[in-house]
């Protein structure tokens, strides 16, 4: 009965707060109330279920249940496998350290099956039936857009790992990857300065992420760098024929090819570039869609000398990352590679742990309020250091990596810590 009531009141808060200012003020008030309580509880070191869980989540004296929702089957399984492996590693490590608020984390895993309605249905199951305290999952923007209404209606909490196009900020989502401006702008600045690039040829797969990213890139090239876009091209997803595009590029002779081709097309694109005699000795190429995961399929020899902009590369040699790579390989095998999104997924459980401990509660509203204060930081992140911004995205650094034959990248440029800006003025 109490469960029902609390759910109903939650529904009301969710529907009443359409107005962003109201959310802010309310969560601020909540935080102010929650803070002393948290301190009090912490000094007692006893966290009774009734105190840490007022909304009927799956929390007992001994454990707390979370959900993992990625595609294990279907076309996206290629990319999402690494993300769910990293999340499980993080949860295992947290459990070995004693868990969260004295509770071990239990996982319920669901398969989104690369199908967006299935993602929505499974997220509803996790939130309504399993009452999980948080969900780590989704990968494509399409799957995130599909689960978003469910998380907002049921007041769930989603940690989303992929770098994405921005233009979104939900109370119920924490974005642990880069939004578009963090990934794009510094990379373009770098190539304009280092390679004296003036002309750019943009090419991507034909869907929302490449198109939004290219829109931002074009504005930056034309308005900030004073360069010129000499061609912009989108190929259907799954396309494997790039002969004509490559000839067009040859005709335009751009200083830089700027690429956001994804999936199987990506492999075809780089193989055919090489076969057409376009290599890094003759042509600078910068891509925002190649991580170590993709290189497995493309083959390092086809990428040698080209550049990627990401926030993380497996080859980073800080102590955090060395430990992370070692632990990851111990758990998932020596052959595994770690891409940008895999690392971002690894941050999710740690960010959640930090927020829950700060709030002294598993309640979604309190965890979100604690996250929005903007002082949750991870000094142990494999990428170095990240901090959670009140806008639910992470402060992080952009890095340019130069690909080697062995499928690993050498980091040739690291930016300052970049502020996330999901709604960039002048770029829309």
């Amino acid at each position: 009965m109490s469960d029902l009531e609390s759910n109903r009141s939650l529904d009301q808060t969710a529907t009443n707060t359409g107005n962003r200012h109201l959310i802010k003020r309310r969560s601020l008030l909540k935080t102010l109330c929650a803070l002393p309580a948290g301190i009090l509880l912490a000094t007692h070191m006893s966290f009774a279920v009734a105190d840490v869980n007022t909304t009927g989540l799956a929390v007992t004296d001994k454990d707390v249940t979370v959900g993992i929702l990625h595609s294990l089957t279907g076309t996206m399984a290629i990319s999402e496998t690494g993300a769910q492996e990293a999340e499980k590693l993080a949860i295992k490590q947290i459990n070995e350290m004693g868990g969260i608020l004295g509770r071990q984390i239990k996982i319920i895993q669901e398969d989104g099956a690369s199908d967006w309605p299935t993602f929505a249905e499974k997220s509803k199951k996790l939130l309504v039936q399993d009452k999980v305290a948080a969900v780590f999952g989704a990968w494509t923007s399409a799957s995130r857009k599909a689960v978003l209404p469910v998380f907002e209606k049921e007041n769930g909490l989603l940690y989303y790992p992929t770098f994405y196009e921005g233009l979104e900020q939900s109370k119920n989502v924490i974005y642990t990857g880069q939004e578009a401006t963090q990934q794009i702008l510094d990379g373009l600045n770098w190539v304009a300065k280092e390679k004296k690039a003036k002309t750019f040829y943009l090419i991507g797969s034909d869907y929302i992420w490449p198109r939004t990213s290219m829109k931002i890139a074009r504005k930056h090239i034309e308005n900030v760098l004073g360069g010129k876009v000499v061609g912009e091209e989108y190929k259907p997803l799954g396309n494997t024929q790039f002969g004509s595009v490559i000839n067009k590029i040859r005709l335009k002779k751009p200083d830089v090819i700027y690429a956001a081709v994804v999936g199987g097309s990506n492999v075809a694109w780089f193989k055919q570039l090489k076969a057409a005699g376009i290599n890094s000795k003759k042509q600078t190429l910068l891509t925002i869609s190649v991580t170590e995961d993709e290189v497995l399929g493309i083959g390092g020899e086809n990428l040698e000398g080209f550049y990627s902009i990401m926030k993380y590369f497996q080859s980073q040699d800080n102590p955090n990352n060395i430990a992370f790579v070692k632990a990851f390989k111990e758990m998932w095998g020596d052959d595994s590679v770690i891409g940008d999104v895999t690392q971002a997924a690894y941050l999710g459980p740690w960010l959640w742990k930090a927020a829950v401990e700060k709030a002294g509660s598993f309640d979604v509203d309190k965890v979100v309020a604690a996250s929005e204060e903007g002082d949750i930081e991870l000094t142990t992140a494999p990428e170095g250091y990240v901090k959670l911004h009140p806008n639910h995205h992470l402060w992080s650094k952009a890095r340019v990596g130069k690909w080697n034959k062995d499928g690993q990248a050498t980091v040739v440029y690291t930016s300052d810590l970049l502020e996330p800006d999901p709604f960039p003025a002048g770029y829309q």
Partner: protein
């Protein structure tokens, strides 16, 4: 087009011409196997793409074996892999016909459903055996890179290789179909199954070998495409639409139609792609196809088959 010299424009023209021919050979190689099965047997093989993936995975597996155990053999293994891909996919096709398809000849729509189910089973098997990630075989060095007849022209070697392979396979199929006694039996069975049976042709055996041959050619196509793209569990479904497009547009029961159709689709696609964006070129190509099929539902080359 100011700012370009004539030799530059000539070079682009030559390379663009080759891009069109290269696309033609890819489409033809994909469609040949399906055209044989669809044209000669009337079976719509939805698992055609997966038989291509079998060929691709065979190549990957052989490249792995060669690299690990006989590195010295690396430059030559690829030719060998194409033959093995043909055999493996052919044997699988043989058993698929024996276990599944032969029970459904009287029900053409059910073969559609059954082969689609087969494609799902095969996809999941690839995923269990080779993992969900896309893989690429290590290709011999001589296959990668470009041939440069002049300073400005780069012709992809893998494109030339696929072109040559397609020519060999097409000639082989034509020889089998129109010059061999086995081809005579196949054509007889296609034209009149009952009569063929009455004059002593084992039509069941003909069906089984035709299906195996179609699948084997799909295996060759899959092996060849590892030079162009990667291989994943769902790679096959990427190719199946283009493949059907070529076969249906060409006229279901005509091998000449398949060649003509692959050629016109490839040229239309690559020429338009040069002057507009890739997505729009595809839209116009498909639009033209739909229009032509509205006026010529039987495809480019109508078959003269007595039903």
């Amino acid at each position: 087009m100011d700012g370009y010299t004539y030799s530059e424009l000539g070079a682009i023209l030559a390379m663009q011409g080759f891009a069109g021919i290269s696309l033609f050979s890819v489409l033809l190689l994909m469609a040949l196997g399906l055209a044989i099965i669809f044209g000669q047997m009337g079976v719509i093989n939805m698992a055609h793409g997966e038989f291509m993936a079998v060929g691709a995975y065979t190549t990957y597996f052989l490249s792995y074996l060669t690299e690990t155990y006989f590195p010295a053999f690396m430059p030559y293994y690829f030719i060998f892999a194409i033959v093995v891909a043909f055999i493996v996919a052919g044997i699988l096709g043989y058993f698929a016909e024996f276990i599944l398809i032969r029970h459904l000849y009287a029900r053409p729509l059910d073969t559609l459903l059954a082969t689609w189910g087969l494609s799902l089973i095969m996809q999941q098997s690839f995923r269990s055996m080779f993992g969900a990630r896309e893989v690429s075989p290590t290709l011999p060095e001589w296959l990668m890179g470009a041939y440069q007849p002049t300073e400005m022209i780069d012709i992809p070697i893998n494109g030339m290789f696929v072109l040559g392979l397609t020519a060999v396979v097409t000639l082989g199929v034509f020889y089998l179909m129109f010059k061999s006694s086995w081809g005579l039996r196949v054509r007889a069975t296609t034209q009149n199954r009952v009569m063929s049976g009455a004059v002593g042709i084992n039509t069941k055996k003909v069906d089984r070998y035709t299906f195996a041959l179609g699948c084997g050619i799909a295996g060759i196509a899959g092996a060849a495409f590892t030079t162009i793209a990667s291989t994943g569990p769902t790679t096959g479904s990427l190719y199946i639409v283009d493949t059907f497009m070529v076969v249906v547009f060409g006229g279901a029961a005509s091998l000449f139609g398949t060649i003509a159709s692959a050629f016109s689709i490839a040229q239309a696609q690559s020429i338009m792609e040069f002057f507009m964006s890739g997505s729009m070129a595809k839209v116009y190509t498909l639009f033209a196809l739909v229009l032509i099929l509205m006026f010529r539902p039987e495809g480019l080359f109508a078959s003269k088959v007595r039903r």
